[in-house]
Amino acid sequence: MLDLGSTHLIDVDLFPCGFLTTAKDRKIIVANRYFEESLGRKGLEGKCLNELLTKASQLFCDSYVVPTVFRDGRCCEVLLTLRSGSGHTTPKVVNVQKMADGGLSWAFIEADNRARLFKELEAARCAVEVQREELEQLSRTDALTGIANRRQFDDALHRIFKDAERSEQPVALLIMDLDNFKTINDRYGHDVGDKALQALAGVLKMTARETDTIARFGGDEFACILPNTDVDAANELGRRVHKYISELAFQCSITISIGISTRTAEIPIKHTVALKRADQALFCAKKAGRNTTFVWGQ
């Protein structure tokens, strides 16, 4: 019984909150009756508090609660799970404070509803996170071909050129489009045009390395960014793309034109310049009769 003056007395045993004092090693010195009754346990004095905690709560006490109490003097509003006498688990909100003699005083309050609420909130948070990731992926993917869209391409181009600035490794950029795409659409219909775009994306996926970025850049324009790749290797990739396109069993003949530009340690151009140069090379390929590859400056 606590004496708070002449008229107010509090019966700690019956106060609707579990009180506990322990030594530094968590041996229980005193437990109030409410705590023992709420757990359905008796004779707790002398036992280790760890016996009342789930294994998870013991680990949590070790790595967070007790070190925090030793450092800050107290640790408040922690949710721990206790084991009742009948073997059930019961969540409690816990405040712990260091006492003058180095021991610890603990207060335990019921937290069943709060624990349920946390679970619901966590489930909702996880669902939102999954949706956010899905939406982000969608916003960076071309819906028709499933490869990167312009937004992802721009990010990758910027990043890869920045890396190349530091590493001084060459980067190659290929820009390509389907020859006479408008004619395919007009003659065979847009569904066939779409299939031609998908076929080209399929060839690029098959040809590119994992570290390369392939993207649908515009209507029928595609791009490949090839890190650590010199002009010869880029040309070789272009040659293989032409070859695979020519081997496609497609309902009409499709060919592509490719423009290539490169950034090297000796010619350290910016990504915007590389883009312009690849575009100019593509224009040259078109002018030269299509179904071919041009390298800027060659």
Binding site: K55, A56, F60, Y64, P67, R71, L79, S167
Partner: protein, 267 residues
Amino acid sequence: MIDTDVRHRNSVSVVGTGKKTLVLAHGFGCDQTMWRLLTPHFQDQFRIVLFDYVGSGKSDPRAFRGKKYSELKGYAEDIIDVCEALDLEDAILVGHSVSSMTGLIAAIEVPRLISKLVMVCPSPFFLNDPPHYHGGFERADLEGLIELMDQNYIGWANHLAPLVMGTSGEGLTEELVDSFCSTDPLFAKTFAKATFFSDCRHLLDKATQPTLILQSTHDALASVSVGEYVHANMAHSKLEVVEANGHCLHMTHPREIAPSVINFASA
């Protein structure tokens, strides 16, 4: 990945001088500062590489990728990246707790980088798998731990202390009271899940590197029998059991384990 990027990304620091290089890999809930009591014993004889995994310590949080770091392989890639960024070959990898396993994965993936392994309080699998393996925990125990991390996420990840405590509930010395690591709750939870639910037992016999296993006699997370299991499954391994309380021998018993590590690394 570019050298300078990895150095920044993993907050790599290099101390000491010597022909041989020790790479020290911290465990869950820690960062490279946890090695501070051990490094003075090594720095006159070895070059010491310290780093933080992405999501821990002073690593670059922008490099965190949930999917990559939800598996131990992702953390092993950090080790490989750090070794490659520093052009290391034949380094001796000292891994605490889960880093014994991420180090093992790295050693199997790129053997030329790592010539020897030192495992401080390793556990290849924290769950019990009766009748032959006793990892120490039931699945519900560890799922409960993840749940507690969620429920206490405000506060917890900012004041995470290494799991120094042993089986008796004692062991946190005053010196280590300030050994808190502050981390992002999402990163810490991702690391916790990868740590506590990965099963690396099948990898133990895949590494050919000589391995020193240091196990504590009273460790709530990895018992002596777990150390014996690791030893039995690694052909070129040596087990030393240290009379100690807790899971952080490098912090609680640096003087005791330093000579063993030095002898093993120098041989």
